[in-house]
């Protein structure tokens, strides 16, 4: 998924590069790497199994959510444990807006694209309702306050049965955009049948790219500098004229909207939303993503999201081939357990040896070859 980061870099690059440096753009290796990665990402649905596409889609959804959390936690220094709640608002919001009114389940039956936009807005509104708290509390205190959201959310998801479908969740209506429906009906492109995963792949790419670019713009502009100032020294930021409370509230809303969009994409991939998923573990996973990837940057969030969401799936898939694993029942480590140990070890290793996150690796490389990235 580092390819996705690279893809995002492309347009920004061409915008900032003065016309005369087009030649240097061509001589840089980076341009070619980026183009190759972009092409690779576009071509993947033609070759990969549904399993891989689905894993990639989970990673893209996670990337969008993690970018949002990184704006809040990485860039502004506000800890949120309630990210899973906003994901749930997005996922269930989409289902409610787009779903048909059923016998036991309510739905508004709106067009799916409108439902997705509304779901993101509702997530934003939910964040906005929380912003009186989010604007006043800092760091770990906000973390504790947002913890409450998870428990409220879980209770509502399990019990508001005519909206959420209760413990068994509810079906997610397929996305439909410009006459193209992202469901299982197959269309054939270049002799390859395109099901929902293949179609969603491109939607996911577009959304991830858009979200990444937007966040990059925010981080590189005045708001980003203000956010970093708040993180590094709240009082100094206030003295400089940054409205601290308003900024904190606004970032919280923005981060909830990112989470909402991630929730919509997740719901589309899952095809059914289940309340168990949106628990405290999910919030912790998102925190793990940005810490592992690298705090405060878009690239960090994307890399971390790919790492955290792909690794367990890969380890489970290849659990039979892992070293030191015995068949279930013979004593010793079962494949599922082994994959959990390895995942834990990988997380600890990254945090120990790369305290700046996985993006630090890229930064190190850039320092060694300054001519490439000057």
């Amino acid at each position: 998924m580092s390819d996705a980061v690279a893809t995002q870099a492309e347009p920004a690059e061409s915008r900032t590069a003065p016309a005369g440096s087009a030649k240097t753009l061509l001589t840089r290796r980076r341009t070619y790497v980026i183009t190759a990665c972009a092409l690779l990402l576009l071509a993947l649905p033609f070759y990969l199994d549904r399993f891989w596409l689905q894993a990639g889609l989970f990673a893209m959804a996670a990337a969008i959510g993690a970018i949002g959390l990184n704006l809040l936690t990485g860039a502004t220094g506000q800890l949120s444990m309630g990210h899973a709640f906003f994901l749930a608002v997005g996922a269930y919001g989409y289902c409610v807006f787009a779903g048909e009114r059923g016998q036991e389940i309510n739905g508004l039956g709106l067009p799916p694209w409108l439902a997705a936009v509304l779901a993101v807005l509702v997530a934003g509104v939910a964040g906005g309702l929380f912003s009186p708290i989010a604007g006043r509390l800092k760091g770990a205190y906000l973390g504790i306050a947002t913890l409450a959201l998870i428990f409220i959310g879980q209770h509502v998801l399990f019990n508001a049965e005519n909206l959420t479908g209760g413990a068994n969740g509810r079906d997610v209506p397929a996305m439909s955009l410009f006459g193209l429906t992202f469901d299982e009906s197959e269309i054939t492109v270049a002799n390859v049948p395109f099901g929902s995963a293949e179609k969603l792949w491109y939607l996911g790419l577009v959304l991830t790219l858009g979200c990444g670019l937007f966040a990059r713009g925010v981080l590189r502009g005045r708001p980003g500098r203000a956010m970093n100032a708040i993180r590094d020294h709240r009082i100094a930021a206030g003295v400089l004229g940054v409205p601290v409370a308003r900024y904190r509230g606004a970032v919280f809303v923005l981060s909830s909207m990112y989470a909402g969009l991630a929730g919509v994409l997740l719901a589309l991939v899952f095809q059914r939303t289940v309340p168990d998923y949106f628990g405290i573990t999910l919030s912790l996973e998102y925190l793990a993503m940005i810490v592992i990837g690298g705090l405060g940057s878009v690239a960090g969030a994307v890399v971390g999201a790919a790492f955290v969401s792909l690794l367990p799936q890969l380890l489970t898939r290849y659990s039979d081939a892992l070293p030191l694993v015995s068949a279930p029942g013979t004593g010793g480590v079962a494949p599922g357990e082994a994959s959990r140990y390895l995942y834990g070890a990988a997380v600890v290793a990254v945090v120990l040896f790369l305290p700046g996150g996985l993006v630090q690796l890229a930064a190190r490389r850039a320092r060694k070859h300054p001519q490439e990235d000057a």
Partner: protein, 427 residues
């Protein structure tokens, strides 16, 4: 212009590359359709399809060996592996060897859906799928395109209705009706009495509650509901509330820990009413705890089949074989459930073999012809109607330290008259 030229070149290059890639795609992607049908005809005239390669039938297992249902998942999976081993040793089915591919999802929806996506194109069907929310999550795909047989290890009436997802044994609502019938006929619960029902939030508990409400309505009881979360382990508050309400019997649709706590606390609080649980509300390990004596005295369990320690030849053979294969592991009802599911699948395969059609469609059809299947655990299973559970019967068991698997039978398989008239509502 000189400055623009290289940019143009890049574009041309990109465009060429994309075109080349697309051409390549069409030519060599393994996903490209070759126009032929997947169904093959083997030497013996048996039609085969997805999930069969060479002389092997691939079967999927989506289990939970590291999450909340770890103990159940382990027993079920090991029993199924034992079944496959024995079948293969006897020459397989139809000349094909069976092969199980196990994926442990640890009760994580993302891993469960990923596991299904990975295995679905490769296997003929699933002999095990733990977690009814996850079965529900992929149900659209099972019914819509995959159409492979899936045997979930869950007994919720929500799962009924699909021709491909088949619940084995009675569902929780019917089991609860039978349990209350036992309390009324043999434990002195009477018309007009109050009945406590402690249940898990979620489809297991809520499905059981549907049963108890139906039974209360028919038999003139009042249900006192106590909803708990799977993380609640101390039942003191529930016992106090039920005692205050003056209940004459208690049904518990929760986990083993909650049942042990409930029975133990009730004994300490001098609430001497009979307690009965669903089949998931007991584990033999409980008998070694402090609640053990109270459980043996005042606790019963309704189960869809005879326990592992049943007095039949098949059960005894299973116990002996399982002990030999997994000497360290305890024998519980997960072993029976897993063994039964695997043998139902095996039986369907044998029938499908007789009609020379081992495709997914053929196996689905073959299962519909199984109208009276009993593998030695006392209950006739009828798979001919996808809308109904395969049986309406329950066995009432009592914890007993001396019995194999910690349970002895106190009432043989039977069906309450109210259960016969009850139609589960799949929603």
């Amino acid at each position: 212009m000189t400055a623009r030229n290289p940019r143009n070149r890049t574009r041309t290059l990109t465009a060429t590359a994309v075109a080349a890639l697309l051409a390549l795609t069409a030519a060599c992607s393994s996903k490209a359709k070759d126009g032929g049908d997947d169904d093959k005809q083997s030497a013996g005239g048996v039609k085969t399809g997805q999930g069969i390669s060479g002389k092997t039938i691939d079967l999927g297992v989506l289990t939970d060996m590291t999450g909340v249902y770890a103990t159940l998942g382990k027993s079920v999976t090991q029993a199924q592996q034992l079944y496959v081993k024995q079948v293969n040793a006897d020459g397989g089915i139809c000349g094909y060897q069976l092969k199980l591919t196990v994926r442990d999802h640890g009760y994580d929806p993302q891993k469960a859906v990923a596991g299904y996506t990975e295995l679905a194109p490769k296997v003929l069907g699933f002999t095990q799928f733990i977690g009814s929310p996850f079965v529900a999550a992929v149900k659209q795909r099972i019914d819509g395109q995959d159409k492979g047989l899936v045997l979930p290890q869950a007994w919720s009436a929500h799962l009924l209705g699909s021709p491909y997802v088949r619940v084995i044994g009675s569902t929780y609502d019917i089991e609860t009706i039978n349990a209350i019938d036992f309390l009324m006929k043999e434990k002195g619960l009477q018309k007009g009495d109050k009945l406590g029902h402690v249940y898990f939030e979620g489809d297991y508990g809520e499905n059981a509650l549907q049963g108890s409400k139906y039974m209360a309505d028919k038999a003139g009881l009042t249900v006192v509901e106590q909803k708990i979360k799977p993380t609640d382990n101390d039942m003191t508050a529930q016992v106090a509330a039920l005692k205050k309400a003056g209940v004459k019997g208690i049904v518990i649709s929760a986990g083993p820990r909650q049942a042990a706590s409930l029975v133990g606390v009730a004994a300490a609080a001098k609430l001497n009413v009979p307690v009965i649980g669903n089949n998931s509300a007991f584990a033999p390990q409980l008998l070694a705890t402090q609640a053990g004596p109270a459980l043996e005295k005042n606790y019963w369990v309704a189960s869809p089949s005879l326990p592992i320690g049943a007095d039949t030849a098949e059960a005894k053979k299973l116990v002996a074989d399982y002990r030999k294969a997994y000497p360290k592991d305890s024998l519980d009802n997960g072993v029976v459930a897993g063994w039964t599911a695997a043998s139902v699948f095996g039986e369907a395969l044998k029938k499908a073999c007789e009609s020379k059609d081992l495709t997914r469609e053929g196996v689905d059809k073959a299962l519909l012809t199984l109208s009276s299947f009993d593998n030695g655990f006392g209950v006739d299973q009828d798979f001919s109607d996808p809308k109904a559970p395969s049986s309406h019967q329950s066995v009432i068991l009592q914890p007993d330290k001396s019995a194999v698997g910690g349970m002895k039978v106190v009432r043989q398989p039977g069906e309450a008259e109210q259960a016969a008239s009850y139609t589960p509502s799949a929603s």
